[in-house]
């Protein structure tokens, strides 16, 4: 897989990428190669410190590889204008990172405004997006982030990331800090949203259920490497030890593995 030639539909390609932070003995990303295809949702799954967030940050040039290269639309991230690259890459993080001094409307409007859209177009787009993420504009547009629940903040975060209709969406454990019920609701809605929008998405999580539910492919990471890259079905059938360990956490006593896989697959499609 790592030696496969980059086909034209690859939105992002990692080519033998190593990333080492200054002062750290071992590299965080170790000789990683990966192709992310147009329209897929690739989930990076792994434990804390396995390098999944770092992989994500290499895509929108929040980090630059110490060796190898990361190509976005066939162009090395180092050759991209960092600002231009980030404006066409949506980004959602766990704490949402909303600007506390901006209203919901201004938060969502951020990238279109930076891009110089005219006011009316921005206004219409914000309304459209708030409805898309399930927030009534009349009730929520004028609120400040501090006046929202955690789930509502995360919805605003997703709306903000999608505002300028970026071809690529990066999500770093976006639902990780939410309570289980809210998380489940958002996961379902996001799965539905993905089906409608078909955006190329890279999704970081340590939650195997989430990975299997949302991913078209799952990349299992360990110690800066991808140890398994497969569909959710392939993941569940794999004999790779890490994958088996994850799979075991899903097994309620007495329930069959294949049944769960089928269930997950159905849900994801």
């Amino acid at each position: 897989m790592s030696s496969a030639p980059s086909d034209s539909s690859a939105v992002v390609s990692f080519r033998r990428v190593t990333y080492a932070a200054p002062g750290m003995p071992a590299p965080i990303i170790d000789d990683l190669s990966l192709e992310i295809r147009r329209g897929e949702t690739l989930v990076l799954l792994g434990e804390s410190g396995c390098g999944k967030t770092t992989t994500l940050r290499l895509i929108n040039r929040l980090l630059v590889p110490t060796a190898g290269e990361v190509l976005v639309e066939g162009k090395d991230t180092r050759e991209w204008d960092a600002v231009g690259l980030r404006r066409r890459t949506g980004y959602v993080i766990q704490e949402a990172g909303l600007f506390p001094h901006f209203t919901v409307e201004r938060n969502v409007a951020l990238v279109p405004t930076l891009e110089g859209w005219d006011e009316e177009r921005v206004r219409v787009r914000v309304q459209e997006l708030l409805r898309l993420v399930g927030l009534e504009p009349e009730r929520f547009a004028a609120r400040f982030p501090a006046e929202l629940s955690g789930g509502q903040r995360q919805r605003v975060g997703v709306a903000r990331a999608l505002a300028a209709d970026p071809p690529l969406l990066l999500m770093d454990e976006p639902f990780g800090a939410l309570d289980p019920l809210t998380r489940a609701a958002l996961q379902r809605e996001f799965a539905a949203l993905q089906k409608r929008l078909g955006k190329t998405t890279v999704f970081v999580t340590h939650d195997v259920r989430e990975a299997l539910m949302l991913g078209t492919r799952v990349a299992l990471m360990s110690a800066g490497r991808i140890v398994l890259l497969d569909t959710p079905g392939g993941f569940l059938d794999s004999d790779e030890p890490h994958a088996r360990a994850y799979r075991d956490t899903l097994l309620p006593p007495g329930e069959s593995l294949s049944g769960f896989a089928t269930e997950t697959q159905r849900h994801g499609e």
């Binding site: 993080i93 600007f99 006046e147």
Partner: protein
């Protein structure tokens, strides 16, 4: 008179001084912000600069204000007055502004900054739209501290002729007048409290949480507008008042040094000039060598000086005892070096006066300093800091008269040494020959029979270009030649220092009694 009556009676001058004070604080704070905030922002971008720059700002903060003024005065383009004061105030205000800017920006939540970067904001956009607005309350807290410090330090600016409320405080300290001290200190304290409250209000307005709460209730908008209008009005009014006092350009500016006698002499000149129809601006109570520096710089046109001081402190010559020769030398060198004319002597000397108690002088039959040398081994002496340190002071004096005291002379505040002598705490002091307290405390001045002390004849110094422009001024100065005897000067000093009367009134009466 109680302090309240005093303030009521002098409200116009108090308001004008408050205006000057406010102007000093406003200008220096504005400069400190323009320098400090960008510096702070730079430090958040260049981590390696943070420690050294904050260390320097820290050190500046610890320099005592008088010492800082002392460093600043000799610098070119600084000199005296408002400019030096503003530079010092700016240096003090820098640390809180820089430090709070750094703290405020670094306090912006990591996820917010990361989101801003990831959304594709440029560094300038992040700074303007995210970091500055979110750091604003913390930065303002620094501005608040800086402003309150400035209000306090600005009182000390009076010592270098920058005006402000410190003028009253220093004058009050010199004259043991609590009314004056309070008339300076109370408005200064109120100013500090007002600045603290006003900026505090602004600070909470910028706080995100409060802003949210406020955006939910709209009713108080009118009230807020009224409050801000009132604040603006007060600032403008005080500023205008401060400006107005400078605006009416006078024909001539008379200065004085920072002690009572110098103010009285300057007032004599000022009133005499006004009697000739000239408009006079008074810039009194300039400390140290400021009066001289101001004269040379053309900020004042004339001020009273003493020939001995000119010879040693200004021209840096060794002491000399021949009054005539000193006068001629000073006159010649001032004309050559400073383009300043030395007027004729006013008729009295203000030299060091070696003083003992009147009953001691009678009992021991003391007339001259030589008479006293044999009693000295049993006496204790108390001398002012000035006398102990000057070239024509204690060391040479003790050598000239071969004096030995029971113990090393006590170094004390000059005015305290008078009281110590009168109450028997010490037995001999060095006062000023024209001091009003000599008569009040029944002290006797011993004659300088070995002519150790250089002559300190009082004279007026005037810029030659001013004299050429205003021929009346030369006539006025000529007319005051020999007009003041030592006894008269002692009486006038006592009227102001002892009886707490305004120098202007005392001089007006003196001019009437002289038929001027």
């Amino acid at each position: 008179m109680n302090p309240f009556d005093f303030m009521l009676r002098n409200w116009r001058e108090i308001l004008s001084l408050t205006g000057e004070h406010l102007a000093l604080v406003a200008v220096s704070t504005a400069i400190a912000l323009t320098v400090g905030i960008p510096t702070g922002l730079l430090l958040t971008r260049r981590a390696s600069l943070k420690r050294p720059v904050l260390a320097v700002a820290n050190v500046l903060q610890t320099v005592p204000s008088l010492a800082l003024f002392g460093f600043l005065i000799p610098l070119p383009f600084v000199g005296i007055g408002a400019r030096a004061a503003i530079i010092a105030l700016v240096l003090y205000a820098l640390l809180p502004v820089i430090r709070n800017t750094v703290t405020g920006v670094e306090g912006v939540e990591r996820s917010v900054r990361e989101a801003a970067v990831a959304m594709g904001m440029t560094d300038a956009q992040i700074l303007r739209q995210v970091e500055l607005p979110l750091a604003a309350p913390v930065i303002l807290a620094g501005v608040r501290v800086a402003t309150v410090i400035s209000v306090g330090v600005a009182t000390i600016a009076a010592a270098i002729g920058a005006g402000g409320l410190g003028t009253y405080i220093f004058r009050g300290l010199r004259q043991y007048d609590n009314n004056l001290i309070l008339a300076g200190a109370v408005p200064a304290a109120l100013l500090a409290l007002a600045a603290d409250a006003g900026i505090g209000l602004l600070e909470s307005r910028l706080d995100v949480r409060r802003r949210i709460a406020r955006s939910r209730r709209k009713g108080s908008a009118l009230l807020r507008r009224v409050v801000w209008a009132a604040v603006a009005l007060v600032v403008v009014a005080c500023g205008a008042l401060a400006l107005r006092s400078r605006a009416g350009r006078a024909d001539v500016v008379v200065g004085s040094k920072d002690f009572t006698e110098s103010v009285i002499l300057a007032e004599m000149l000022a009133q005499s000039l006004e009697a000739r129809g000239l408009r006079v601006e008074r810039r009194y109570e300039l400390g140290g060598n400021l009066a001289h520096d101001s004269l040379v710089a053309g900020q004042i046109d004339a001020y009273p000086e003493y020939t001995g001081t000119s010879l040693m402190a200004i021209l840096k010559h060794p002491p000399s005892t021949d009054a005539r020769a000193v006068y001629e030398q000073v006159k010649r060198e001032y004309a050559e070096r400073f383009d300043v004319e030395v007027g004729p002597p006013l008729g009295f000397e203000d030299t060091f006066a070696i003083l003992v108690r009147g009953d001691d002088a009678r009992r021991l039959n003391l007339k001259t300093i030589s008479d006293a040398t044999r009693f000295a081994p049993k006496w204790r002496a108390g001398f002012g800091q000035d006398f102990m340190s000057r070239k024509d002071g204690y060391e040479g004096f003790a050598r000239a008269y071969d004096l030995q005291f029971a113990e090393r002379p006590r170094e004390m505040d000059l005015s305290l040494s008078y009281r110590a002598l009168a109450s028997g705490g010490v037995d001999i002091i060095a006062g000023n020959s024209t001091d009003g307290m000599i008569a009040t405390l029944k002290l006797v001045q011993l004659e300088d029979d070995r002519h150790y002390f250089p002559p300190y004849e009082a004279v007026f110094l005037a810029r030659r270009d001013t004299l050429a422009r205003l021929p009346q001024m030369r006539e006025v100065i000529q007319k005051l030649a020999g007009a003041v005897s030592t006894d008269e000067m002692r009486r006038l000093n006592f009227e102001v220092d002892g009886n707490k009367r305004p120098a202007a009134d005392v001089v007006r009466e003196w001019r009437q009694s002289k038929g001027l």
